[in-house]
């Protein structure tokens, strides 16, 4: 098992290296000069030149073949990509071009917001999706089944940015129950411990702040949870139906075991494996879906930040944010693979 983990981690290196190349190249290819974006359209030629030099934008992208011609090996390797990679290895993600704040610092502030949103949405999706799936499978071909499966199909087909707008219309504009966006009322101060507001406010016992954070979470969580909820419910139902046809279920029933026991002890355990795969894949997608949700609800997470940075040509921010998202995505997939071995003793990793 340990050997398998190590091997998987090593095999991640080329993928992640490829990710850095793609992020790096894609950004460099986007038309527009960050130095101009930083100084404005009317900046003087010298100033632009100075800033470009400061940011290292005057260096070649990968390797400097002119320097090589002169036999300057150090200059040969002194390129934008290798500089970026070298700093990355040291944990330095650079500073935001527009706001001059270190990317790592802002990332550590914004990442918990996205994590809180994604985890809350995932919790809702799992806690509702799995029971709905079990119920549909147990009451197969009844109105409960049809209703929840039609609901799930509508959920899968839902454009979440539109769902978010509809929520704002209903809960914030018409009913005026929930705040329209943001993460916390500006007047409230919370001592930062984990960065997850729900936990921080609970630990410090700030109940009004906790309640306010919950109210801010409701709408984005509904928007974000809809698609994984629907997918998890469908997957649970399909997987349960398959397992319920197995011989050992018939044996368990023949023994006279209670239906509930058969469903939860015998069927559910075996049906969960594909559901866990889906949960893992969806967790990655949640981080991605957060871009739209965060934009609509002005949620101060990484999704909106990276989106703004792409539009504003803030290279270091896009690189840092995208790399983090990709890293989390890849690690979640690894965790899913590893959880197989724990859940299904038949699977052994060499």
């Amino acid at each position: 098992m340990t050997r398998y983990i190590v091997r998987r981690l090593i095999s991640l290196i080329p993928t992640l290296l490829g990710v850095t190349v793609v992020v790096f190249l894609l950004l460099r290819l986007i038309p527009g000069d960050p130095a101009v974006a930083m100084l404005g359209e009317h900046a003087s030629q010298e100033n632009v030149q100075r800033i470009r030099e400061q940011l290292g934008l005057n260096r070649p992208l990968f390797l400097d073949r002119e320097a090589l011609k002169q036999g300057d090996l150090k200059g040969f390797l002194d390129s934008q990509y290798l500089r970026f990679l070298g700093r990355l290895v040291q944990g330095d993600l650079g500073a935001s071009i527009h706001r001059r704040i270190p990317v790592a610092q802002e990332l550590s502030q914004r990442f918990p917001a996205t994590v809180e949103l994604a985890l809350a949405a995932m919790a809702v999706a799992i806690l509702l999706g799995i029971p709905i799936g079990i119920l549909s499978a147990a009451r197969r071909n009844t109105w409960i089944d049809s209703l929840s499966m039609v609901g799930a199909l509508i959920g899968v087909s839902m454009p979440i940015f539109w769902l978010g707008l509809m929520e704002i219309m209903l809960f914030a504009v018409i009913l005026n129950w929930l705040p329209i966006g943001g993460r916390l009322d500006h007047a409230i101060e919370v001592r930062r411990i984990t960065g997850l507001l729900l936990i921080d406010t609970l630990v410090t016992g700030q109940w009004t702040a906790f309640w306010d954070a919950v109210k801010h979470l409701v709408m984005p969580v509904i928007a974000l949870a809809t698609i994984p909820l629907a997918i998890i419910a469908r997957m649970t139902r399909a997987s349960m139906l398959e397992v319920l046809q197995e011989d050992y279920i018939r044996t368990a029933r023949a023994k006279g075991l209670h239906q509930r026991l058969v469903l939860f002890r015998h069927a559910l355990k075996n049906a969960l494996l594909p559901v866990i795969t889906i949960i893992g894949l969806q967790t990655g997608n949640l981080l991605a879906g957060a871009i739209l949700t965060e934009t609509i609800f002005a949620w101060p997470g990484i999704g909106k930040w990276v989106y703004d940075a792409i539009i504003g040509r803030d290279y270091p921010v896009v690189q840092g944010g995208t790399l983090l998202i990709a890293l989390v995505f890849v690690l979640v997939n690894l965790l899913v693979d590893l959880s197989y071995a724990t859940l299904d003793p038949r699977i052994h990793y060499e």
Partner: protein, 407 residues
């Protein structure tokens, strides 16, 4: 009128209609109420948009009437609003119903073209990856692959020395090397390849500068060693699938946004971005399908009678990958419509005043607070319904085309 001749002496089963694979699938498809609903939605969607596009001309550039700005839906003309607007009007006084109908044309276009891009590129990559992973390459194919690898890797020294001919030289080294039977050389072949690589890389670079020649020679030696490995189909498959992993490591919407930012806004560019992001899905599906198909007896039989690889691939394997591909493409049409809407909503898809559902939402959501619910509700319902239609149809097709899954 000529009467059909009767054949009373034939037994009943001979007169029965011939059963075909597609005929059976069709009967299973229309037997399912949800699939019928999906089909109905899809047919209505396609019919209205295509008919509207050709017979109900609409010019978004001239459509503008400030006197009708943000009027709620009305089904009967009144003194204030003399015209009928079943879905209301938007911030420029444009009829939302009309724009929703015409927006369908754009959604349909995005769906078909982006799925087409993803399907052709991803499908072809997956097909080749799955095939050569399980079936050994012919000597000719191996020479082609090695030459390709040589060409690809040769670009690095070629760029360094600014001499494109270098890459071609490496391709030739690769194809000649793969063609020779070098097994009797033993370990000497590594040296041979490294040496020839160093020569091919280093000598032409001498014209540039001695330093460049040293670096290119070193790189050439490394490439030579790499080419000396007995390259096989699994290397190709690995290469393709790792590339797909890299694309998949990005959240698709992020990648799509970055590509559109690179290409510039516009619906055509959005189609390319959405199609590109979808490539790995089809590549993986195709590879998995092909991997299971090459184990079948009929593929073995085709190999046994000496069919060429191209014939096996396109006559025996490709037709059998159709059903999962049809299902995935139908579902893909739905998600492409959502992606296009998302990009449009963020202002990266269709350029206004072009009618597109996502862009219409992005245009009007600022008026939600002032109570203009209709401007946001109807384009969204259009997205949801059309996606639902494709999803229902796709689900139905999956059950119909693969009866083993039906429960």
């Amino acid at each position: 009128m000529v009467e059909a001749p009767r054949r009373p002496d034939l037994p009943e089963f001979a007169l029965r209609r011939r059963r075909t694979l597609w005929g059976d699938a069709w009967r299973r498809l229309i037997a399912s109420p949800t699939a019928r609903l999906g089909m109905a939605i899809v047919v209505i969607f396609i019919l209205t948009t295509v008919l509207a596009h050709f017979f109900w001309p609409y010019n978004p550039k001239t459509d503008l009437d400030y006197t009708l700005k943000l009027k709620p839906p009305n089904l009967r003309p009144t003194a204030e609003i003399p015209s009928i607007h079943p879905f209301g009007t938007d911030k420029l006084g444009r009829d939302i119903f009309r724009r929703v109908i015409h927006g369908g044309w754009n959604s349909l276009r995005v769906g078909i073209i982006s799925v087409g891009i993803a399907l052709v590129v991803g499908g072809l990559l997956g097909l080749l990856a799955g095939f050569y992973e399980s079936i050994p390459m012919t000597p000719g194919e191996r020479r082609g692959l090695t030459a390709g690898v040589g060409l690809l890797l040769g670009f690095i020294p070629a760029w360094l020395a600014d001499q494109p001919i270098l890459a071609v030289l490496f391709a030739i080294v690769g194809s000649v090397g793969a063609g020779l039977s070098l097994s009797r050389l033993g370990h000497w072949r590594w040296l041979l390849f490294a040496g020839s690589g160093a020569l091919v890389g280093g000598v032409p670079a001498l014209w540039v500068s001695p330093y460049t020649a040293i670096v290119c020679g070193l790189l050439g030696a490394i490439i030579g060693v790499f080419i000396a490995f007995p390259l096989s189909g699994s290397l190709f498959s690995n290469l393709v699938m790792r590339l797909m992993d890299i694309i998949l490591a990005f959240p698709s919407i992020l990648l799509a946004i970055a590509i559109v930012a690179f290409l510039g806004p516009g619906l055509d560019r959005a189609m390319i971005a959405i199609g590109f992001v979808g490539i790995p899905t089809y590549a993986r599906l195709m590879r998995a399908t092909v991997l299971s198909l090459v184990q079948r007896d009929y593929v073995l039989a085709a190999q046994a009678v000496g069919s060429g690889h191209a014939r096996i691939l396109f006559r025996h394997i490709l037709p059998n990958t159709l059903s999962p591909i049809i299902v995935q493409s139908t579902l893909g049409l739905g998600s492409a419509i959502i992606w296009a809407g998302a990009l449009g909503f963020l202002g990266l898809g269709a350029i206004p005043p072009e009618p597109e559902w996502g862009a219409m939402l992005g245009d009007s959501y600022r008026f939600l607070a002032s109570g203009a619910w209709w401007a946001v509700t109807f384009p969204g319902i259009a997205i949801m319904l059309s996606v639902l239609g494709f999803n229902l149809l796709g689900d139905g097709l999956r059950d119909a085309l693969d009866p083993r899954l039906t429960r």
